[in-house]
C-alpha cells in the first residue's frame, strides 16, 4: 500500500489521466497506476465510476474521485500544504477555471475535429478554428503570466495542467497534417511555455512521446473517419 493509499485508474495516452498524474507529482505523492486496456473497462473502473465509466479515476483510500479537473482540485485541497495548483486570488481562480472550461468544451473538440473532418474544406476549417482558439489562449497567457513562465506564475498550476496535457495530441496533429500551430511568430508566449511545461519535473515522465502517441492516433482516426463516413 502506497503511503497515502492512492490509486489512479488510467491509460498513458489519455490527456485527462495526465492531469491527475501531474497534480500528484506536483504534490510529490506516490500512487499506484492501473493501466486500463484500450477498448475494455476493468471491474474496478466500472465500480469506481458507474455513471460515466471513464478514466481517470483517483481512488483515495476507499473513495473514488472522477473527472480530471475535479481530481486536480481535490488533490490541491487535500494536500494544501504542498505547492499550490490553483491561483490564490479568487479572480485569478475564476480566470483559470474559465479557460480550462473553454479548452475542454471548445478548443479540444476543435482539435479532434481536424482528425474527424471529411474532405479538405472541412479539414481546413477545423485547422482555422484551432488556430483561432490558440490566438485567444496566447492572449490569455500574455495577460495572466505577466512575463513569467507559466499561466499564473513561476510554477505550473491549474490552467497549465488543463491545457498542457493536450500538447502531445497537438504535436501529433501538427505532424499528421504537416502544419505548425505553436511557433514564435503567431504564439510566442505559448511556444516558449510549451517547452517549459514539457521539461517540468512534474510533467516530463508522464508526457507521451509524439511517435508513440501518433501510433495510437492512427487507430483513433481510422475509427473516427469510419464512424463519420457519409453513406454511399
Amino acid at each position: 500500500m502506497a503511503k497515502n493509499d492512492l490509486k489512479v485508474l488510467g491509460a498513458w495516452p489519455s490527456p485527462y489521466v495526465m492531469r491527475a498524474r501531474i497534480a500528484l507529482n506536483i504534490k510529490s505523492l506516490d500512487y499506484e497506476f492501473f493501466e486500463e486496456t484500450f477498448g475494455s473497462k476493468s471491474e474496478l473502473l466500472l465500480e469506481s465510476n458507474p455513471v460515466h465509466k471513464k478514466i481517470p479515476v483517483l481512488i483515495h483510500g476507499d473513495k473514488p474521485i472522477c473527472e480530471s479537473l475535479i481530481i486536480v482540485e481535490y488533490i490541491d485541497e487535500v494536500w494544501a500544504s504542498g505547492p499550490s495548483i490553483l491561483p490564490s486570488h479568487p479572480y485569478d481562480r475564476a480566470t483559470a477555471r474559465f479557460w480550462a472550461s473553454y479548452i475542454d468544451e471548445k478548443w479540444f473538440p476543435a482539435l479532434k475535429g481536424i482528425a474527424a473532418a471529411q474532405g479538405e474544406e472541412a479539414r481546413k476549417a477545423a485547422i482555422e478554428q484551432v488556430a483561432e482558439g490558440l490566438a485567444l489562449l496566447e492572449d490569455a497567457f500574455q495577460k495572466t503570466s505577466k512575463g513569467r513562465d507559466f499561466f499564473s506564475g513561476d510554477k505550473i498550476g491549474y490552467l497549465d495542467i488543463a491545457f498542457g496535457c493536450f500538447l502531445g495530441w497537438l504535436r501529433v496533429t501538427e505532424k499528421m497534417n504537416g502544419i505548425k500551430f505553436l511557433d514564435e511568430t503567431k504564439t510566442p508566449g505559448l511556444a516558449k511555455w510549451a517547452h517549459k511545461f514539457c521539461a517540468d519535473a512534474a510533467v516530463k515522465d508522464v508526457m507521451p512521446e509524439t511517435e508513440k502517441l501518433a501510433e495510437v492516433a492512427k487507430i483513433i482516426v481510422a475509427k473516427l473517419r469510419g464512424a463519420g463516413a457519409p453513406p454511399k
Copy 2:
C-alpha cells in the same frame, strides 16, 4: 452604485443566470440586474464575455466573471465570511462538483432533448433518459443529504443551486408532456427537496412562475423543432 459594485447581466428565464443570483442572495449581496433582450446581445455583454457572448456575466467592479458555476464559486470565495456555498470537506466538494457537471453535461441536455424530439418514440426515449438521470440524482441526494433538507446539509449549497435552477424548466416539461418526474414514489427525497428549495429565501424571488416560463418554452420549442425538422 451598489455597495459592492456588482452587476449581473442576465435574463429572468435563464437557469444559469438564476445560479448567480441565488449565490448573491445567499451572501446577502446587493447587485444591479441588467436584463438582456431575448434574441439580441447588449454591448456590455459582448465586451464582458467576448469568447462565449453568453449570460450570465457577473461584473465585480470592472472585472467580468463568466460561466454560471464559476461565478458561484467566485462569490463563495470572495465573500467567504458569509454562509458557505461549497461543502467544507474536499471529498464532499468533489462529489458536489461531479454531480453539477453531470447535470450540465448529461441531464439537462436530456431534458432539452424531450422538447427537441421528433416523433413519439424519440420523445419517449428522451423522457426515459431524464427519469434515469433523476434516479441517479435521487440516490446521490439520499447519500449526501443523510436525512437533512439539502444535498449537503441544512442550508442550500452548490449542488442545490446547480440542480435547483432547472426546477422551473422541469415543471414546464412535466406540464407540456402531461407527466410527473418528481413524485413521492420514484423520487421521495428530491420531491421534498424541490419544495424546500423553491421556498428558500434566497430562491423564491428568482424562481420563475411555471406559467410564465411555459410561454417562453413555447417559443423555444418551436425554434428547436424547426431547426431539427427532417427534410421533406
